[in-house]
């Protein structure tokens, strides 16, 4: 009797482990439109309305827990923000003159009309998030039916959040900019030097802008925005979207890299906007015009104005 129980126990364990390994192997072996991937998408299509409903019902609970965390965090943030306000006030005075010139240049190139609405934003609610440090993903309640497609950029009122990686009729999955699979072409606000912004795996609060030219100017506190281009091609992301702020600068062999703290609070996402106008549309074409501007004209405050116009609207 005892032997039978032991055999059965081991058989069940062996079966489940083998089943898991088979799933793992098959999943890795197949294309993104393969059978297992489509089963996942179908499952998401079924559960996304349920998850969405549950998310709305459980929002008060989340807010309650969030309130405690936010209160504890607020005190430490306060002093830091006061220092930042002082610094920005000084910077604001210095930038005023430059801004006036930039506005004139933008008007000249008809770029002042460029706003977030030109990218056909679709507002979505976040209803699920991966608890795993290896997967920085969220699920949103808007999908194909609302015009959302794979690779659409996702933003919130603070800055770039990520991009859509899977879509079903009424939902989509968004890889956050801190997910290990992400890479965004970005530049430092005051500079035309572009680099590749990648997450620092294991540290959800930090990003790293790599492969900047060794001579590229980079200072702590500067804003990092999307560049809008990748090797003279259009990027998935419109130019000038705010991403984060430089926290430290590292000199490496042959190139420079900077650590970037994202503006968007990715731990506490509630509402986001999906920019559903893909590459090749009017706003994306305008990015070429922006890129063709002489560096003195399109850099600095002009670029940042563009960024704040887009994200702020």
């Amino acid at each position: 009797m005892h032997d039978k129980t032991v055999r059965r126990r081991r058989a069940v364990l062996g079966l489940l482990v083998v089943l898991s390994l088979l799933l793992l192997t098959a999943y890795f072996g197949e294309a993104p439109n393969g059978r297992l991937h489509s089963v996942q998408r179908d499952f998401l299509a079924i559960v996304s309305p349920i998850q969405d409903g549950a998310n709305k019902a459980l929002k008060p609970v989340r807010d309650l827990f969030g309130w405690f965390g936010a209160t504890l965090h607020a005190k430490s943030q306060r002093n830091e923000l006061l220092k930042q306000v002082d610094r920005l006030r000084q910077q604001l005075v210095a930038d005023e003159a430059e801004k006036r010139t930039s506005h004139q240049l933008l008007a000249l190139f008809h770029l002042d009309q460029l706003g977030i609405n030109d990218y056909h934003p679709v507002t979505a609610t976040v209803f699920g998030k991966s608890p795993n440090i290896w997967y920085q993903t969220v699920n949103i309640d808007k999908g194909e039916a609302d015009g959302v497609r794979v690779n659409d950029p996702v933003i919130n009122d603070e800055g770039l959040v990520g991009r859509v990686t899977a879509v079903v009729a009424d939902g989509a999955q968004v890889d956050l900019i801190t997910d290990s699979s992400m890479g965004v072409s970005a530049r430092i606000g005051s500079s035309q030097a572009t680099g590749l912004l990648q997450p620092k795996v294991g540290d959800p609060g930090d990003l790293s802008l790599r492969y900047l030219a060794a001579s590229a100017p980079a200072n702590v506190g500067e804003n990092v925005v999307t560049s809008g281009t990748v090797s003279s091609e259009e990027s998935l992301y419109p130019p000038g979207l705010l991403i984060g702020q430089v926290t430290s600068v590292n000199e490496e062999t042959g190139f420079k890299s900077v650590n970037v703290h994202p503006f968007a609070n990715l731990q506490d996402l509630d509402v986001v906007q999906v920019l559903t106008a893909g590459a090749g549309t009017r706003p994306a074409n305008l990015s070429r015009v922006a890129a063709s501007l002489p560096s003195a004209q399109s850099s600095g405050a002009a670029g940042e104005q563009l960024a704040s116009t887009q994200v702020g609207e």
Binding site: L13, L16, V17, R41, V47, Q51, L58, S180, G202, P204
Partner: protein, 191 residues
Amino acid sequence: MTETVSGTLALRLAAFAVFVVFFQIGVVSEVPVFGVNADISSLLVAFVGLMCGSTVGAACGFAVGLLVDLALLQTLGLTSLVFTLVGYWCGRLREIRDPQGALTPLLVGAGASAIALVGYSLMEFMLGVDAPVSFELLRQIVLGVVVNTIVALPMWALTRRALEGALPEDPRRRRRRRSYTTGGLSPLIKP
């Protein structure tokens, strides 16, 4: 030790597991504590193993892992594999040691979380994720274990409450019964 799973237990387990997974995805994952998120799904698997034994623990681990991977579009089979081993390990702990201490859920929760987090990270490395074994990663794992340990006791109470009455055999009840039948602690026997 024979494990019999009644229909009531299976139903309750399935309903509770679905609730916990959705609660994890919709609420717990969005409330960071010390910069990390608690993972109550791994705690659920550990406690089911501790209450119901290794076979049920492993099966629950597989099912919960599959549900998590499906709902979050993660690599299918990865969480299942890790959770299966966690559930089995906790079930074996009950079968071999039958721990009764008040702090058992705390220690099991910490151990299960550590196994799940380290196991998951090792699997990711083996699958070729390009990431350095940084201090930050270790910090995340340690903090994850600490946070899970904090929520282990409430989660244990919740799991016990959800499955109460349908459990195959309550180890505490069994021990008490053994004490009475041997006569040593029976109040009915006068010296």
